[in-house]
């Protein structure tokens, strides 16, 4: 690992090695890796009732009757509720992002009312003394369904005569958003070459290692509730549950204990969370539920699922003039928390790193009889990056240019930053030249091109393809005013409190909510540098609305980009106060003090010094503080970010494609990412590796498939294929560091980078391998059969 630019640090010029930039081993991993920790499922709640959810096996049907009597009669079953039984307690699941004024927002009840609209929809809930009984009782709830025709295809759902999911709305069209930037038709008219493609960004299932779980307990005789959930968003969840159920927010404590992955799928207020709360209130007893893997596949939201009609216009010399993107986005059966907004998170990013005169974006959201979609690692940005990086490769092929050359000709040059893109965002910094040069060198690009040529000439059964992806993305969701302008109903700030306790240990209370990312370690490193204390002296407190009352939680690579700023500012406030105390005690002018390695020293008088830990004790005893100063040593900060940050990178994939069997194999993968200043290189590596694996998975393996009746065919992990380490080569990763100028630490965010970048790199590689056969696209996942059929069609002279 080398870095072209030295990382900036919070404390330049100190004697101690800065914690920021150090490969500190993750403090939280012993308990996470061994599982010896508190998950929602093992929170001890004596006397808790277990929920069992009666789910629809039919995608679209009227409920004509529910007979709960047999289930209720079973020993150990406490009660069974239908929508009718729950009445006002059958709360609606909220969507907080009405993206247009005329968006169609159907009711989405915890328990289905009159109709079911997807396989897995919930029609009744069983409460039993143990989970085995609950599972048995589910089978004894008899539901009569009157099946209706289902629609799973988006274009069919928009066509006249389609079955309508929400009959009171009269349409399956959720919304249409138009976002024209510049005059695309004029740009197209000024072009020599126009390339258009229809890309299918297929539906994915997040499959976090820990399925969802919730447990809710009334607290004694008071009207207070504690709710544990395997969630990414305890703070958001508290607000939404309070709004939905009427439980006052100050009487509801939400705890996300350790959480085993999310990838966006736990960014939600789910019906099971609402049911646990209302049933705990109704019965006055603890209620709990843990999702089975089978439920997880249908009941936890899915990701992607867009039809992307993309057109790019350029002059013969390779100057991109304009881009047109028309999306059809599958909402699924209902709108969950930000379902309609997911495509719009990509809206600003389809232009990627390229300069152009015009960009025309539109998106139509559609209801179908499928599981709702929502955020999945990258959320809108992987789709955008896939479309632009694929179409740029197609343009290169059309022009007969090397794909790297075409990109060089059109990308924003490093001296042009800050640069306002055609979609209106201002990219603060970037250096696409540096990242690309380094990647080409590590990849041995020219050698691989030569090998590719040899294989083509010898008609090798295994062809070699080189896939290029020069991606950027936006992290740091988000400036609150921007979110407001986009009709998102919450802000994008983040909060941190840092307390130096009497004996000098530090509590760092963050509003971010880690679920595997390593915040405990990274946040400790930042605080360590700001306060000059050892990393191991910092305890990070998170994921509990009682202990960290303010927060906007973790998603969208925002935690470091936004939360990191709050940590830095809170720490600076601590140091500012401590300095006043130290100066007072040393009878010095605060301006004459310097703060180095956790010690306040009088400049020019090295004998006179005190440590921040000593100051903390003085602040605790309060025997000798400056007049008017409040005791204790802490600092709190809530930071609203100035702007997004824009990580970028160049990812290169060498794909071997067996032209007989269609099997595409990733032979080597090189990426050079620029995520700005790196707090912990080990964690960044981990994020990049996992991200690449997840992006490769979309390209080659994963895809949720429904039959025409709305049955999920990929409903188990035998059929929904997740790659493992055995399917992947060892990735070569490297970095350039161009610090963000909108973030005081210069960081940008890394949680989604690999996923966003890798999918187009892989598919560009597969297509590149098969280009001599006349192939110009391969449907994802590029399974052997998809590749084989594409080749068969191309050889037969048909369209790919």
């Amino acid at each position: 690992m080398t870095e072209t630019t030295e990382a900036g640090t919070a404390q330049a010029g100190t004697a101690r090695t800065p914690a920021i930039g150090s490969p500190v081993r993750r403090k939280e991993d012993d308990r996470l890796v061994t599982g010896q920790t508190t998950w929602t499922d093992n929170v001890a709640l004596p006397g808790a009732l277990h929920m069992g959810l009666v789910r629809s096996p039919i995608a679209h049907a009227r409920i004509t009757g529910i007979d709960t009597s047999a289930a209720k009669a079973m020993p150990g079953v406490v009660d069974v509720f239908t929508a009718a039984d729950l009445g006002d307690d059958n709360v609606k699941i909220p969507c907080v992002w009405p993206v247009t004024d005329d968006i169609v927002m159907p009711d989405f009840h915890s328990l289905a009312v009159d109709k079911v609209r997807q396989v897995g929809d919930v029609v009744a809930v069983v409460l039993a003394q143990d989970k085995v009984t609950a599972e048995d009782a589910i089978e004894n709830v008899v539901v009569d369904y009157d099946p209706l025709p289902a629609v799973v295809d988006m274009e069919a759902a928009l066509a006249d005569g389609s079955p309508i999911l929400h009959e009171d709305k009269g349409t399956n069209q959720c919304y249409t958003m138009n976002f024209p930037c510049g005059d695309y038709e004029a740009a197209k008219a000024a072009s020599d070459v126009v390339v258009s493609r229809r890309f299918i960004n297929q539906r994915l299932i997040p499959v976090a290692m820990e399925p969802r779980a919730v447990a809710c307990s009334p607290m004694g005789t008071s009207e207070e509730y504690t709710l544990w959930s395997a969630t990414q968003v305890p703070h958001v969840l508290r607000v939404l549950l309070a709004l939905s159920t009427g439980v006052p927010e100050n009487q509801l404590r939400v705890i996300a204990p350790d959480v085993g992955g999310g990838f966006g799928s736990k960014l939600q207020m789910y019906r099971e969370e609402a049911l646990a709360l209302v049933l705990a209130r109704r019965l006055g007893r603890p209620v709990r539920w843990t999702e089975t893997r089978s439920e997880n596949m249908v009941a936890t939201h899915h990701g992607r699922d867009q039809i992307q009609d993309v057109e790019i216009a350029a002059t013969r010399d390779g100057t991109i003039k304009g881009l047109k993107v028309a999306l059809t986005a599958n909402m699924g059966a209902y709108l969950q928390i930000i379902t309609p907004g997911i495509p719009l998170l990509g809206m600003f990013m389809y232009n990627g790193i390229y300069k152009m005169d015009a960009y025309d974006f539109s998106c139509t959201g559609v209801f179908t009889n499928t599981t709702p979609t929502d955020a999945y690692r990258g959320a809108g940005r992987p789709e955008a990056t896939y479309a632009i990086e694929r179409i740029v490769d197609e343009l290169a092929a059309e022009l007969g240019m090397d794909p790297i050359e075409l990109r060089r000709k059109n990308w924003i040059a490093h001296e042009e930053f800050p640069y306002q893109t055609i979609s209106g965002l201002t990219y603060d910094t970037g250096n696409y030249e540096a990242a690309t040069e380094k990647a080409l060198e590590l990849f041995k690009y020219d050698e691989l091109r030569a090998e590719q040529q040899r294989r083509r000439e010898s008609n090798d059964l295994v062809q070699l393809g080189i896939g290029v992806s020069t991606f950027t993305e936006m992290c740091g969701l988000a400036p609150s005013r921007t979110l407001g302008a986009l009709k998102y109903v919450a802000g994008g700030w983040e909060n941190c409190t840092i307390r130096v306790l009497p004996l000098g240990k530090v509590e760092l209370v963050t509003g971010t909510s880690p679920h595997g990312q390593g915040h405990v370690t990274s946040w400790s490193q930042i605080a360590s540098d700001v306060l000059g204390v050892p990393v191991e002296d910092v305890e990070v407190i998170h994921g509990d609305t009682a202990r960290s009352p303010y927060g906007m939680d973790t998603y969208g690579s925002r935690s470091l980009a936004v939360g990191g700023q709050a940590i830095l500012r809170a720490g600076q406030k601590v140091v500012e106060k401590a300095k006043l105390i130290a100066a007072h005690q040393m009878e010095a002018n605060p301006d004459d003090l310097e703060f180095v390695d956790g010690a306040f020293r009088v400049k020019g008088d090295p004998e006179k010094s005190t440590t921040i830990q000593a100051v903390a004790f003085e602040a605790f005893t309060a025997h000798n503080l400056p007049d008017g100063m409040e005791p204790t040593l802490s600092g709190e900060s809530t930071v609203d970010p100035a702007d997004f940050s824009f990580p970028h990178g160049t990812h290169l994939a060498a794909m071997e494609v067996d032209t007989e069997t269609g099997k595409a194999t990733l032979r080597s993968y090189v990426c050079v990412d620029d995520v700005g200043v790196v707090v912990n290189p080990l964690i960044v590596e981990g994020q990049v590796h996992g991200g690449i694996a997840q992006g490769v998975a979309q390209a080659l393996y994963e895809g949720a498939v429904y039959d025409a009746d709305g049955n999920l065919l990929t409903a188990s992990m035998a059929d929904y294929l997740l790659p493992t380490a055995l399917d992947l080569p060892s990735f070569v990763t490297d970095r350039t560091v161009t610090p963000s100028t909108t973030h005081p630490l210069g960081t940008k965010g890394v949680g989604e980078a690999g996923t966003i970048a890798s999918t187009p790199a892989i598919i560009n590689g597969v297509v590149d391998a098969l280009r001599p056969y006349g192939v110009n696209d391969v449907p994802m996942p590029a399974s052997p059969e998809h590749v084989w059929r594409t080749l068969q069609a191309a050889k037969a002279g048909g369209a790919a």
């Binding site: 035998a718 059929d719 294929l721 997740l722 399974s783 052997p784």
Partner: protein, 283 residues
Amino acid sequence: MIPAAFDYVRPGSLDEAVRALHEGGEDAKVLAGGQSLMPMLRMRLATPSLLVDCSRLGELRGVRDDGDAIVIGAGTPHHEVMHDALVRAHAPLIATVTATVADPAIRHRGTFGGSLAHADPAADLPTAALVLGAQFSIVGPGGRRTVAAADFFTDFFTTALAADEILESVRIPKLGDGWSFDYQKFNRTAQAWAIVGVAAAVRRSNGSIAEARVGLTNMGAGPLRASATEAALAGAGADGIAAAAEQAAQNTSPTSDLHAQADFRQHLARVLTRRAVTNAARF
């Protein structure tokens, strides 16, 4: 993901197990390594009334030399089979194929006989057993009987075993010198089921193929022999393999599912047969 209620017995001998199974009736099931049965129980795809746990019956475990054959106990875990000296010496195809079964954790619990008796059309071992001419020793209330591999696999997940019979062991003839083997397993992820598999056993003599046996995995309800290819390979040289392999999908009726449509499976069978025979023949 919680099984429906069932009764459970763990007999101390094979005879006791047969008796328990017989008394348990049609809905009683044998539990060996549990690697296929447990997921089916948990998803409630199977709801047996009684499980007869044979996983600790020592008499079902191990490999022995039986003159012109080796005998593999049905309860021998895959891991032991693939590392067994007798297997490696006299039935190396079994070791090769077993190494492709799932992952190490499953190979330590799952058993040789369990995989055969489960008769998943995508399972690899039935194909190897068919190619090697294995004889299945079955114990029931009426005593022992022997069934040839060709008669053992009768349909999807269905074998010649009656509800109250237990597979005791499998006798695999030693093929002797001059034979070599290959197994081509085609799957999408490293440890997934075979989309198609092809096992080839080839005996060479005087620079050409004297005899070849080709078995197909997942090309029908159970393992199949590619008879037309086998016939075409007899006496063939290196240049005859491709043409012979073109006939590999004759008389197959593979299913169409998420991972492959039938015509793609037939295409794969031809390609993989060519590769397996070429590798085994070592021209």
